[in-house]
Amino acid sequence: MSDKVILCRCEDVSAHDVEEAVARGYRDLESVKRFTGFGTGWCQGKQCVALCARLIVAAGGEIPTAPITPRPPFHPVPLAHLAGLHRRQKDEP
């Protein structure tokens, strides 16, 4: 492995990538997310969003007022179960 400090495990975004983004003028959490891709992988930022926010602030970026937008699903759901939503529902006993 090369010497990288990985912040976002899912998308392999390093501390260097985030610092570079702030240096290029992407100073807020959402912009750095869009530029580097942190928080856009399997876990949707559960592992890295707080760490990236702290690093952005340390690198001279903005203090976030809100997290990256947490869209459903919170946890992965098989498409087959969502595809079933059009079918006749059963009441939970």
């Binding site: 990288k4 495990r9 260097h16 760490l51 997290p67 079933g84 079918r87």
Partner: protein, 429 residues
């Protein structure tokens, strides 16, 4: 590979000394489970032809076919990890191979073959009809705060459903290897407190739905995911008690397999699995101390707990074999051999569902959490309460008081609403 039937596949693999389960998407760095609680990417594997199964949540069965994804070779030795060496400074995919259109198109073809997680299933997965439920108060999360809120709401006369994503209620208390002080100032072992809170909820009449993880909050519906269907719940009040998890820490090699959270290490101990023979603990707190005691009691060697700033690097290939520590005042770092590193970063509250329900989420300087009243969990959304660790709260008694306040207030507001309705119609209550 041997496994106890029903224990999670990732736990069975850890028991056999296997932490290297996967490779990362871009650089193909080795990956292993970090959280053992469905909050990371490290345990994804292909099971019986289905891609991207979180093996920390998949119960082991005899004859199961478990495969590594995205590798040429094995998870331990993946040819594609050359990508990591080719790009030591990282990839700037905004400008890479963009000078020439043809080169760009060719590179996209290559990247598409290498990137991504998993392959399509080999068989058709049948869809299943959804289920529906209604209630007065819906509590999301069956940890101590969720149980206390649900109990109080039910005692206040509200028809209450509690959704718990795992197979048992009690949350973090189930794994904490030590004593906690409960509401009556008794020092009890943590699982005993979990059992008592569960019994209270059951006898108050709370409808507890295990293995039902809430995955989304829409206008007036909460969507939950069960083993083979989804459940839609319509509720008049929502109490979010989703807890918190351990996020990542920033030191070189922190993404190596064998580096996991202290709570995850405690969860392994609960399954009777020693996370390592020689475990380094990075970061301090009650979990770090409890883990250190529990590991020593089981005959493991413990290094630390070290302050987070003292640890500069984890080393090993493909899994962790040593850490570099610079002790306070020392000029040089020393390399300490270990086969597991347990980290205790600041807790990351699970704020997502509360935010979807309309509650405000704020940054504390350390992490994001739901902004909620400390006495009754009230949020910026009138029908939504948030209690426990998802609000950044800590300390069992503090959280239980907040949760009981929320349950009570949710039930009271429903009684008041019912009263107002019957009053308007001219009837007596």
């Amino acid at each position: 590979m041997p496994a106890i039937a029903g224990e999670p596949v990732a736990v069975a693999l850890a028991a056999s000394g296997r932490y290297v389960l996967a490779r990362s998407v871009k650089y193909h760095r080795p990956r292993g489970p970090v959280c053992f609680s469905g909050r990371c990417d490290g345990c994804l594997m292909r099971i019986d032809g289905i891609a991207n199964v979180m093996t920390c949540r998949a119960p082991a069965r005899d004859g199961m076919h478990v495969e590594t994804q995205n590798v040429i070779g094995t998870a331990e030795s993946d040819l594609l990890s050359a990508t990591d060496w080719f790009f030591p400074g990282g990839m700037n995919h905004h400008e890479m191979f963009t000078a020439n259109k043809l080169v760009n198109r060719a590179m996209q073809q290559v990247a598409r073959r290498i990137a991504g997680v998993g392959e399509l299933p080999t068989r058709l997965v049948p869809d299943s009809p959804p289920r529906d439920a209604r209630c007065d108060v819906l509590v999301i999360g069956g940890g101590p705060a969720g149980l206390a809120a649900a109990t109080q709401a039910a005692r206040g006369g509200a028809d209450t459903i509690l959704l718990e994503e795992t197979g048992e209620t009690g949350g973090q208390l189930l794994c904490f290897p030590g004593g906690v002080v409960d509401e009556r100032e008794r020092e009890l072992n943590a699982p005993a407190v979990a059992a008592e809170l569960t019994r209270d909820a059951e006898s108050a009449g709370v409808r507890i739905l295990l293995r039902h993880g809430a995955v989304g909050v829409y206008d007036d519906e909460v969507l939950a995911h069960a083993k083979d269907h989804v459940l839609r719940v319509r509720a008049k009040r929502i109490v979010v008690a989703t807890g918190s998890h351990e996020g990542a820490m920033a030191f070189e090699g922190a993404d190596l397999p064998g580096v996991l959270g202290v709570r995850a290490a405690c969860a392994l101990l609960r399954h009777g699995v020693l996370p390592g023979e020689r475990v380094a603990i990075v970061g301090t707190g009650v979990w770090s101390d409890a883990l250190a005691r529990a590991l020593r009691a089981r005959g493991a060697e413990v290094l630390g707990p070290f302050a987070a700033a003292e640890v500069t690097r984890a080393r090993g290939r493909p899994a962790v074999r040593a850490i570099d520590v610079t002790r306070d005042g020392a000029a040089a770092s020393e390399r300490l051999a270990c086969d597991c590193v347990a980290t205790a970063p600041p807790p990351s509250p699970d704020y997502e569902l509360a935010e979807q329900a309309g509650a405000t989420v704020v940054f504390s300087g350390e992490a994001f959490g739901v902004s909620a009243a400390s006495d009754d969990g009230a949020t910026s959304a009138a029908h939504v309460f948030a209690v426990g660790e998802c609000t950044g709260a800590s300390g069992l008694r503090t959280m239980l008081a907040q949760a009981r306040g929320a349950g009570e207030r949710a039930a009271r507001s429903l009684r008041a609403a019912a009263h107002a309705t019957t009053g308007a119609e001219g009837g007596d209550v």
